[in-house]
């Protein structure tokens, strides 16, 4: 019930207890990941054997390869970053263009098109992955048979991973940016045009600065979603594994605290990103 209505004491206590249990449920997996990154034992499991930084800085000499010495893991972080940068750039560009298309342009079939733009969000990621894989290799085969062209970028690998992630992250960027464009006061733009500004000048000096928070916000979300994507990536990945796929492979082989170490970094990075976004969102209002 709501605060203005009488609530019996047991109900208040039960509510608080439920909330506490829920918060423990939310945070305990993250807490154990963080704690066992520092355990002085070859497996991320109890009992606690003392504090160590081996899983961060250890070189192979002690039998422990820490995160900063693990070329494979560091390489996969790099791969993830490169993929995420491409996906972010493509998604924000397309999202901006789509926002203008949906909010400003008038054409036949607009309703259908704007519904179709939402479709990638309700298609399971695995299916986005296999359909793009199948289609890309159909084109690659066609080019090979008809023209003798070897189109390597259409074979499983990073370019396909970028396209696969972009296919649905673009929808999210489109939704974010068009939501902001919808609230734009058109009279500002008309005033500028009346005063003799060119369309390009209006775009540069009025529209883009107004859209900036949405552009930055959708860029951050696109980067994070790309970095963390697993389903679509797994279907399209070639020999260079991004971080999620690499971690998945290692988790199936067995546990090593070096995974906890890399996870701790991911937590800190995404926590900082989240806080920046929330702060940014507050200061705008």
């Amino acid at each position: 019930m709501i605060p203005s209505l009488p609530r019996p004491a047991w109900l208040r206590a039960a509510t608080l207890a439920y909330l506490a249990v829920f918060l423990v449920f939310l945070f305990i997996p993250l807490a154990v990941v963080a704690v066992f990154a520092f355990n002085d034992a070859p497996y991320p499991a109890p009992p606690w054997r003392g504090f160590t930084l081996d899983w961060f800085i250890g070189n192979a000499s002690g039998g422990r390869t820490g995160l900063f010495q693990d070329g494979e893991l560091l390489g996969s972080i790099g791969t993830s970053c490169v993929v995420a940068c491409w996906v972010t750039a493509l998604s924000v560009l397309l999202g901006t263009s789509n926002a203008f298309l949906i909010e400003r342009a008038r054409f036949r079939g607009k309703q259908t098109l704007s519904i179709l733009m939402l479709a990638p969000l309700v298609i399971p990621g695995v299916i986005l992955g296999i359909s793009i894989l199948a289609f890309a290799s159909r084109i690659a085969e066609f080019a090979d048979d008809e023209f003798g062209l070897e189109l390597d970028f259409l074979r499983p690998g990073l370019p396909l991973v970028v396209l696969g992630q972009f296919s649905y992250i673009a929808t999210i960027a489109t939704l974010t940016i068009s939501a902001r464009l919808r609230r734009f006061d058109r009279s500002l733009e008309e005033a500028a045009l009346n005063l003799g500004a060119s369309r390009a000048a209006v775009l540069r000096t009025i529209l883009l600065p107004y859209l900036r928070p949405a552009l930055l916000g959708s860029a951050a979300i696109a980067f994070l979603m790309s970095f963390e994507d697993f389903n679509t990536t797994l279907m399209l990945v070639g020999s260079d594994a991004p971080l999620t796929v690499m971690m998945y492979g290692r988790m199936r082989e067995g546990a090593s605290p070096v995974l906890n170490a890399v996870s701790l970094f991911l937590m800190i990075a995404s926590g900082l990103l989240a806080l920046t976004l929330i702060r940014g969102g507050r200061s705008r209002r």
Binding site: L5, T15, V32, L101, R104, V126, I127, L259, N260, G271
Partner: protein, 305 residues
């Protein structure tokens, strides 16, 4: 709306004809990337997938149209058992998520006030900024035989030896519910926040008890949020791969694993495509049914989600 009208208002210096031309051009420039994206990455790949699923290999490089892939699915009990199991567990997981998330959303939207409410909301969202891989790793460390929870149970004297808590259906449900929580809490909170407290007070003054208020006022009002949350959670659960394979192990028997096996391990794309289509059909059917039941538009729901 007849024909393509000028998309943008003409600038004042331009003649009407030039203005219309430039508007056309702008429209084309904006339309091209959108069509390229949807055509090349969504529509055509799915047509390709459909074509693949309706053919059969009759010899080297020889294919014939057939329903063989779908026949195999129904003829082989393993396949459709896994399919039904995935669907049922996804439904169970969605309902469980709703049950757990609703009181939390209520606390955030109605009980906590001001700063406390927004702080609590943010705290509930923070874990979901972290990759699903990391969260699953956490559950594995907690639940595996040598993990935290089994050794705690031994210490408390509840079990004599550490028990394996991974690889059970219940574990799978815990993992799936955990992963989907965010997508339920957000739409629930936004739909509950818009509910006027005066309505609840009025009902209470008129003698309604808690369950009656919930049934006649709260749930009808929150229906859009509930639908949005359930649709998104169901879809994500159905299509999940990471949590079932890692927490369920070989026992998980999740349908996405079958798709992966056919497509990537066995290189039997025709069969994999058919499986993919069946999963897509199920997911679409549930989305459509959910919208029908609550009488909502797809666009509205996705925007509120």
């Amino acid at each position: 709306m007849p024909g393509a009208r000028p998309a943008f208002r003409p600038a004042f210096a331009e003649t009407p004809v030039a203005a219309r031309l430039s508007a056309r051009l702008t429209l084309l420039l904006l339309l091209a990337p959108a069509l390229l994206w949807l055509g090349a990455l969504i529509v055509l790949p799915h047509i390709e997938l459909a074509v693949l699923s309706f053919r059969e290999r009759t010899g080297p490089q020889q294919y014939a149209a057939s329903l063989a892939q779908y026949r195999t699915f129904f003829a082989e009990p393993l396949y459709w058992h896994v399919f039904v199991r995935t669907a049922l567990l996804s439904v169970a997981s969605t309902l469980l998520t709703l049950l757990i998330a609703f009181p939390i959303a209520w606390i955030i939207a109605k009980l906590a006030r001001g700063r406390m409410s927004s702080a609590l909301f943010i705290v509930c969202l923070i874990p979901f900024w972290v990759s699903e891989t990391v969260r699953t790793l956490g559950w594995m460390i907690l639940l595996r035989e040598s993990g935290v929870l089994p050794s705690l149970l031994v210490k408390l004297g509840l079990t004599a030896v550490p028990v394996e808590l991974l690889y059970h259906d219940a574990t799978l449900l815990v993992g799936l519910v955990y992963t989907s929580m965010l997508f339920m809490i957000v739409p629930l909170v936004s739909s509950l926040e818009s509910l006027d407290n005066a309505l609840i007070e009025a009902a209470y003054d008129l003698g309604a008890n808690g369950p009656a208020v919930l049934r006649t006022i709260v749930i009808p009002h929150a229906a859009p949020g509930i639908t949005a949350g359930c649709i998104v959670v169901f879809m994500l659960t159905l299509g999940n791969y990471l949590t079932p394979t890692l927490l369920g192990g070989k026992n998980s028997q999740w349908f996405t694993e079958q798709i992966y096996t056919q497509f990537i391990t066995r290189f039997n794309w025709e069969q994999g495509a058919a499986f993919g289509f069946l999963l897509l059909a199920l997911s679409t059917a549930i989305v459509v049914a959910g919208l029908r039941l609550s009488g909502q538009q797809f666009g509205e729901v996705m925007r509120s989600a």
